[in-house]
């Protein structure tokens, strides 16, 4: 694997390899000394054209736990704000000896363009590009789901197992969500069934060509008995106007409210009797797409997702920079 740009590019074997490596990395994170020497002497550049403290810090922690040198580059206040192009910025970083570039960008495809260019020899990790993909978020979601799924089925370790048969419901603004796209492709690759629930205004016009079931009613979707409910953030800047009338109506129809939490509490992971789980990529709008009670419920895995983010990003950097496997 040369770059990580998209979960659509990941084979079943690739995905399992990353998740299994992440399990090993997770063990490191629970040690007293949370550090491996694997990437000593290597340089990871966090190239962030878009504000995202949690993702940047997660990648930074991951790189540091692998003993890499980390350079954080934020477009805001940099030469980029003076008009420097992506090409020139990357070539500058290349000259400084970057081994991996973790790029976050508001433009869909920026990571792919960087990887396809001759501007850098570094491995490129897509840390979120516009409304395209956010592959490490999907991988950490999959790691989170796999733990519950395998534990419920009494597997000794989640390693080596996929999500075959799991039913995952993704709710909300799929149209603008890079998290949703990455999750759909990865979950399908791992054998899960994926359904979407959203108003038609927040679904791609050609969603019928996607390998998913579409619901225009969250209550109908919950009635199908999903094993996991993944809520998406309602992006404040898109509230109101043409996508939906106003936040309160959105919450009534599409929010994981206290009333719907009662429904979710009746759901189980398959027929195991173990409770279904709730995910959210954060940051949350409590009281809009998810109620406080749902976010803080026993079924919520939201804080686990954050912790798993570091493990997954360690795994990705490790595999990319040490040639851990071919893809």
């Amino acid at each position: 694997m040369r770059h990580l740009l998209s979960t659509a590019d990941l084979s079943h074997q690739d995905a399992l390899s990353i998740l299994d490596t992440a399990e090993e990395m997770s063990a490191v994170s629970s040690r007293e000394v949370k550090k491996l020497p694997t990437l000593r002497g290597r340089t990871v550049v966090n190239l962030f054209y878009e504000d995202s403290t949690r993702t940047r810090v997660s990648f930074e922690a991951a790189a540091k736990r692998l003993s890499a040198d980390v350079v954080n580059f934020s477009a805001k206040g940099s030469s980029v704000s003076k008009g420097e192009s992506l090409k020139d910025t990357v070539q500058t970083l290349e000259a400084m000896g970057a081994d991996a570039v973790v790029i976050r960008h508001s433009a869909s495809g920026a990571a792919a363009q960087l990887a396809a260019s001759d501007w850098t020899e570094a491995a490129v990790v897509n840390a979120g590009d516009g409304t395209h993909e956010h592959p490490t978020q999907a991988l950490l979601d999959a790691l989170t789901l796999r733990r519950d799924w395998s534990a419920a089925h009494a597997a000794g370790s989640p390693r080596g197992t996929d999500l075959a048969g799991m039913k995952v419901l993704i709710v909300g603004d799929v149209l603008h969500s890079r998290v949703a796209r990455s999750n759909i492709w990865l979950l399908r690759t791992l054998g899960a069934e994926v359904s979407l629930a959203a108003p038609a205004t927040l679904l791609p016009q050609s969603v019928s060509s996607w390998p998913v079931t579409v619901h225009y009613s969250l209550d109908d979707a919950l009635a199908e008995g999903p094993d996991a409910v993944m809520m998406l953030r309602v992006q404040a800047e898109r509230m109101g106007g043409a996508f939906f009338p106003h936040a309160a109506e959105y919450t009534r129809r599409w929010g994981l409210t206290d009333e719907r939490l009662e429904v979710v509490e009746t759901l189980t992971l398959g027929d195991t009797g173990k409770p279904a789980v709730i995910l959210h990529p954060g940051p949350m709008n409590r009281g809009v797409e998810i109620s406080a009670a749902a976010a803080d419920s026993d079924q919520s895995r939201i804080t686990d997702q954050v912790a798993h983010g570091v493990s997954v990003r360690m795994a990705v950097l490790h595999l990319l920079l040490t040639g851990g496997h071919d893809a």
């Binding site: 192009s85 869909s108 363009q113 516009g130 409304t131 890079r178």
Partner: protein, 447 residues
Amino acid sequence: MPDSYLIAGARPYGEEPTDLLIADGVIAAVGEQARSRAAQLEGITQVDAAGQIALPGMVDLHTHLREPGREDAETVETGTRAAAKGGFTAVHAMANSFPAADSAGVVEQVRRLGQEAGWAEVHPVGAVTVGLEGKQLAELGAMASSEAQVRMFSDDGHCVADAQLMRRALEYVKSFGGFIAQHAQDPSLTSWGTSSAAQMNEGEVSAILGLPGWPSVAEEAIIARDVLLADYVGSRVHICHVSTKGSVEIIRWAKERGVSVTAEVTPHHLMLTDELVRSYDPVYKVNPPLRTEADVQALREGLADGTLDVIGTDHAPHPTQAKECEWQQAAMGMTGLETALSGVQHAMVETGLIGWRRFAEITSERPAAIGGHADQGRPLDAGEPAHLILVDADARRTVNPEEHATKGRNSPFRGIELPGRVTATFLGGHPTMLHGELASSRTGRTA
């Protein structure tokens, strides 16, 4: 440079070989008479055109020459050199320059630059509205009565979206025989929130790539509206760069109804699909966007059956940095003058959809007639103005934008092998290109 040429053995419209004599700016004779009369002339140059196809010089209704204001992207000089190299003897310069061509002064400036360059006739297109802003009619009458004698008006790059303004524009230009060329794009259907605009065709590919979509209905709704308006007020409308199957169907319906509508299609929309955008290479970013295979097939059929009238290149050169960046920040547009013949040959002739006679109609005769240029797009007969080209249809070439005369390097056909090559272009009897190389302009400029 002598001004008499005996073109020996060329095949007019791809038919039987014959000789053509060019003298004093006209086709002086064709066939046996050409050779006998040539023998009587001194200083004549013989051009061996055995096996080559002779066609009327091509006429482009849709060229962006960028001057004034964006000379870093193109100038009238470089753009018309590209025209000559591509086999065009006349081009229409779109109005989205800086300042916009919305006044008599600017259109006369563009016309004068074209005359001074002398590589092709340059016919300025006037803006429909002041500053292309879609709010107030530009001085259409002044542009029409200027030395540029503008007849074609367009806000191309922008749609005249206001229906009342479009109606008034269609009515107003009737008084001097003008017409409106519409960039059909309902802006309210191609803007995504406050900060982003549509980036590519809306469909399966845009949904996966996470790029804001430009739905086909945004084009079709405006075309439907405008053909109804043109019918209602009894005026003439021309639809720029048609890109969807639905648009072809609406135009077909309008023509059957007797509406005075003409339409153009670009070579790139006849050849390329939105699948190419998966590369995120901004060279494929264009407005209207590349559509689907079904659209491409419908456009080809529409051009073959006459629903679509002409080829328009929408030649849109950009500086390298405008394309060497993130997709969403990249400029829209592709170069097209120097690959148009090859593209149409590939998409339409080699597929058997049209022959070279129809090729001459869609690239020369109809655009000249729509533009109102009586001496362009004429048949290759004795006594006609010598605007003609020679084409080696059997040649194949790998497109290398570095070899192009345009300043733009943003050709979507880079590295692609295409058929056909223009080997000579005669502008009023003067060879702007000869033996496959630019020669000199009518005003004596060399490349």
